[in-house]
Subunit: 345 residues, 2 copies
Amino acid sequence: MNRIVRPTSIKDIAKAAGVSCSTVSRALQGSPLINHETADRIRRIAHKAGYVPSAVGRSLVTRKTNTIGVVVTTIADPFMAEVVTGIEAAANEAGYSVLLAQSYAEGGRETIVVESFLERRVDGVLVLASRMGARYTPLLTRMRVPLVLINNQFPEPFEHSVEIDNAPASRALTEYLIRLGHRRIAYIGDHLGHQSDAERYNGYRQALDLAGIALGPELVAAGDGRIEGGAEAMGRLLDLSHLPTAVVCYNDMTAIGALRAARAHSLVVPRDISLTGFDDLFICTDTNPPLTTIRQPKRRMGQLATGMLLDLLAGRKCEPHVKVQGELVVRESAAPPRSPDGVRG
Amino acid sequence: MNRIVRPTSIKDIAKAAGVSCSTVSRALQGSPLINHETADRIRRIAHKAGYVPSAVGRSLVTRKTNTIGVVVTTIADPFMAEVVTGIEAAANEAGYSVLLAQSYAEGGRETIVVESFLERRVDGVLVLASRMGARYTPLLTRMRVPLVLINNQFPEPFEHSVEIDNAPASRALTEYLIRLGHRRIAYIGDHLGHQSDAERYNGYRQALDLAGIALGPELVAAGDGRIEGGAEAMGRLLDLSHLPTAVVCYNDMTAIGALRAARAHSLVVPRDISLTGFDDLFICTDTNPPLTTIRQPKRRMGQLATGMLLDLLAGRKCEPHVKVQGELVVRESAAPPRSPDGVRG
DNA sequence: ATGAAAGCGCTAACAG
DNA sequence: CTGTTAGCGCTTTCAT
């Protein structure tokens, strides 16, 4: 007698309560059409039977899953993690669940992952640091699934996005360094071709230009947005015969790597060389030295993007491009240079 | 003419190809029963039509969603984030998607979240640092959904779990401190009643007992597993008239908070006081000073737990309790004490 | 190798 | 206020 047991369904409850499925359905949804007592009785029975209505059955008819898909490069990246906290909180608040997937910053994986979301019929999708950006439009239009991008890395604007205003922030950071007396300021970027990197580089460049500082290309190095890449790039910079007195890093992880490399070269930051980050991760206060950086409102960005997506889902109109502003956070990794140019003292 | 458009379904493809739904279904699943040419033709048509089969329709009949639910306290916690990376990678590898939810370490929210997972008919559930532990058993047994816990915080063993072997690791850490010459060693814990905390405390206690060190209760303080709690607890410890020479912290976040408090009290670590963490978060190398800690194989734990869950789903038998071992990582936050007891020098 | 038919669990007109 | 009916998109016997 190996009968396959199936979880109790709405029919079981209907039978137990001596009513129709519709009545059960309505009672459980709190429909005002149902007699209060019957509704109560049904709820009691359902509860006693341990009945948990199936969202998949429901979704099939309502064509809504109350689920959003979010794709990150990797959730181990603390920037992503903080944005996702904001997303999950806002989504949950509105009754949505979140499907999470990692793309490892590969366009291929990103596409696969979005397709798996589509197959699962998510109501909307959120992509952080997308490599594909505008290329989604055809697919998503066809599927009628709204998409919003957070810090789009694809070099074309996307219809719905929330982004940090990179250039002004990066420029403010560089100007701060210039005000401290630096003239020879290097830049460690992200992978080539990423949009945030391009914009942050532009901000850096603008500040230099406005200050009338002309710098050779040997002062810009490419990292990978992570500690390792930052350390390597910094290593290359420190092999230069004519050292920079400061370096603007693409983000905090890069800066942490640069910090490591500086230490490995027996350089003391900021005495021997100044360094700045971008993001303001929670660790910035506790690195050695604490990092001067730009604060991105990470949770807020997650929340804003989720809000935009929910607006789209509800057919409400909304601002399609949200730019948030960064904020300079001065800590201890930048100080006036010992000598105005970078000749080792 | 405001016709509601619905996404193309299997029927549309069947009609377009002049075959039945069954044939389309089989062709798309790569069933060997279908003529190779028809199958190819159908696939082409489906692709051209941009047809994406609905997992919700499929799930309704197969009673499988290929989804697992994972609940964390908060994904902003870097420990959680690293475990989740491992989970997502392993799940994805096996064709599963992950639903992510945050419990904020509240038993109430944890329960709500698990129920929402059940409603969505996830195939299995993974809970990190669960506050509810064994209390799930009835619900999940009824729903026939396997659950595995990672670092269960509920003070009873749970049927399926992967856990760090806390006591030996914590004891090794404390013994290391004793070997350095410390006698007055404090402990900053987590919220009271959490299992990991109790076990780590026990390890600490064992080491002291074996060394014949008797310490008063004023040397154990409670934190909250986060930076703020660590800082506060350390503050209280540093108000003692007779200071400890070393403090064992529940985890790295706590230790980072303790580091801040020490700095605020103008104490230099490890010269004035030694400090240890637990977890080995990626930042440990870059704090000031770098943290001596216990490494937890975080991704591996995520992967192991996912593997166990998949075994359960497949009806394979598996080791129900996996314990992984921590590893002492010596860095620079602990050193021999200046004076053997903690009288301020 | 293919089709017809039934049904997964639920909701939503529509009727009463 | 409640029941009947149909159908969401798919898979899966069972025939053929």
